[in-house]
């Protein structure tokens, strides 16, 4: 019988010929992830299982990224607990400040997550790796503990919702805009328990960095995973990276899906999601002119080199509006270094932006740019829930890096085209 990509990947990981939506299976896990918030809880639970060693010290990644560089004593203690566990267990993929990055940017960059694999992370945005054709999904800390002990985890096989983006992308419209649009159409629980699969000419035309932005936010529609079928772009990205041999898994064209949408991108504007839901997506022109206090460009959604290049193209030779604070956070140390070499950091600094070492920081209201009551931000992050970036009376508009950079200059939410010509 014909099967979707998700079903085929899960069948393989469960050692079965085929699986069907709704079926409960036990799958072998190729990579498991925890961070400085979720891993400490998982480590405590792991101890209770009464097993000495983790199932495979090369298939667990522990990344201190949320409150690092440690923002206070409590955070430092959490990271210490994680570091000690990593040392004790000989965990290969533990990365300190100066070598680390935001987990969902770092793992793909290091070639640790690969097409056809099953990956779980104690972080909801683990779905990012779907952009590489991995079945990757967020779980809780207790789930992570179970995986660290056994290398396996139970799943309910999800049905698939297929989203086909047709047409050619207009200028300044990219991955973030497509996913905000999708969430706007489906709602925050429109894909609950299901897999989102993104295909079509507008997807194939996107570079990897933009594809990561799309898969990253599948969870914001409630999805379990956000898959993009691997193609030449994917394989090229993995060429010098993949740490293991892998086998690409593609779905059957005629596989039954729960729903299928076809959306044309030809006339799409850059999208902005207004507070307090990622599903409040609308064309930027609808909210243009809204006064802002802060702009954050970074996070696991849009902190990659292509994102910084887009922002720099708009910021070059311009200044951040006097009323606005712009904070730029490259997602990983490698992105930071690349941006440095390309002169992007200089462009940011000259534009009077603050550039930070990699961290999740303000994305979750942790540190490095918390909002006061009544303040308004444009952020390239993925959530704008009440209180997400600070005070519960603050407001966050979600956008891609182009709208974020243009807004930083304009002092109000702005379409990148409003800035006029881009200086090369």
């Amino acid at each position: 019988m014909a099967h979707t990509m998700a079903e085929k990947i899960l069948a393989r990981a469960a050692g079965k010929k085929e699986v069907f939506p709704g079926e409960l299976i036990n799958a072998r896990i190729d990579m498991a992830l925890g961070n400085d918030i979720t891993a400490p809880v998982a480590i405590n639970e792991f101890r209770k299982i009464g097993i000495e060693k983790v199932f495979d010290r090369e298939r667990i990644a522990l990344i201190p990224d949320h409150f690092t560089p440690n923002k206070d004593i409590q955070s430092a203690e959490q990271v210490k607990l994680m570091r000690n566990f990593a040392r004790e267990q000989g965990i290969v993929h533990y990365y300190e400040v100066g070598r680390m990055g935001i987990e969902h940017a770092l793992l793909p960059e290091l070639g640790l997550v690969l097409p056809g694999e099953v990956v779980v992370g104690a972080d909801s945005h683990t779905c990012t790796y779907g952009a590489l054709g991995a079945f990757a999904t967020g779980v809780g800390s207790t789930d992570l503990a179970a995986v660290m002990a056994t290398g396996e985890l139970w799943f309910k096989v999800p049905p698939t919702i297929r989203v086909v983006f047709e047409g050619e992308l207009p200028p300044w419209v990219s991955g973030k805009d497509l996913i905000l649009y999708t969430i706007g159409q489906l709602g925050v629980d429109g894909a609950r328990y299901a897999v989102l699969e993104f295909t079509g000419p507008a997807i194939t035309a996107l570079p990897m960095d933009a594809r990561f932005s799309i898969s990253n936010m599948a969870i914001e529609a409630g999805a379990k995973a956000g898959l993009i079928p691997p193609d030449a772009v994917t394989l090229r990205y993995l060429e010098d990276r993949a740490v293991r041999p892998y086998e690409t898994v593609l779905g059957d064209e005629d596989a039954p899906v729960l729903q299928e949408f076809h959306w044309d991108v030809e006339n799409m504007e850059p999208q902005v999601s207004a507070p307090f839901s990622p599903a409040n997506a609308q064309p930027v022109s609808q909210v243009a002119g809204t006064e802002i206090d802060q702009v954050v460009i970074g996070s696991c959604t849009n902190g990659r080199i292509d994102d910084l290049r887009q922002a720099a193209a708009l910021l070059k030779g311009r200044k951040v509006h006097p009323r606005v604070r712009l904070i730029v956070i490259p997602a990983t140390q490698a992105v930071y270094l690349q941006a440095l070499r390309e002169g992007l950091l200089e462009i940011f600094a000259e534009a009077e932006a603050a550039v930070s070492t990699p961290t999740c920081g303000p994305c979750l209201g942790g540190h490095m740019g918390i909002l006061a009551e009544g303040e308004v931000a444009v952020a390239t992050t993925n959530r704008n829930f009440v209180g997400r970036m600070g005070h519960r009376g603050s407001r966050v508009y979600l956008a891609g890096p182009a709208v974020a950079a243009a807004s930083a200059v304009a002092g109000v939410i702005a379409h990148p085209l409003e800035l006029g010509e881009v200086k090369k």
Binding site: I37, S124, T142, F385
Partner: protein
């Protein structure tokens, strides 16, 4: 033990994990500390108002957002006996089962119940009863596999048994 009685607190649709336990408190995983901020960004006075044995009733997609297990932990530690919702977000559903926070999915109960109602919940039968009117509702039953995890007291016990049996 599987029959609970408590007072209802009502929340709306799409209550996210940042509302349940804001990330600014996640530099610790101490359950008592988390409980002190339970539901704070949805209702700042909630941590003071809530008493042991109370029941949260919410609309659709309860617990959407992050995978933080601190969310069901904060609710459990705040003394909430169970959460009834029209539907739950996927990771929250998993986490609640894994840590042993009783959750019940019933659109009818979620629509009927009002703040301050006293309800009786029979977890084995999945039965929810509003005491003053005697109105009864039945929750969507858990698949047997999940019932087994819950019967063992959560995923860790389940895995421990499996590992020690060498399965």
């Amino acid at each position: 033990m599987s029959v609970l009685k408590g007072k209802v607190w009502i929340f709306g649709n799409d209550i996210d994990t940042d509302a349940i336990i804001p990330a600014r408190y996640l530099n610790t995983s101490d359950p008592a500390e988390l409980a002190r901020h339970c539901m704070e960004d949805a209702d700042p006075s909630f941590p003071e108002k809530v008493s042991r044995g109370d029941i949260i009733v919410a609309g659709k997609n309860f617990g959407c957002g992050s995978s933080r297990e601190h969310a069901p932990l904060a609710i459990k530690e705040a003394g909430i006996a169970c959460v009834i919702a029209e539907s739950f977000a996927r990771i929250f559903y998993r986490n609640a089962i894994n840590i042993g926070l009783p959750i019940l999915e019933s659109a009818e109960a979620a629509a009927f119940l009002k703040e301050g109602h006293q309800v009786e919940v029979n977890l084995d039968k999945g039965e929810i009863m509003e005491i003053s009117t005697g109105q009864k509702f039945f929750a969507v039953p858990f698949p047997p596999f999940m019932q087994e995890i819950m019967a063992k007291g959560g995923l860790i016990n389940f895995v421990r048994e499996k590992v020690t049996k060498g399965e």
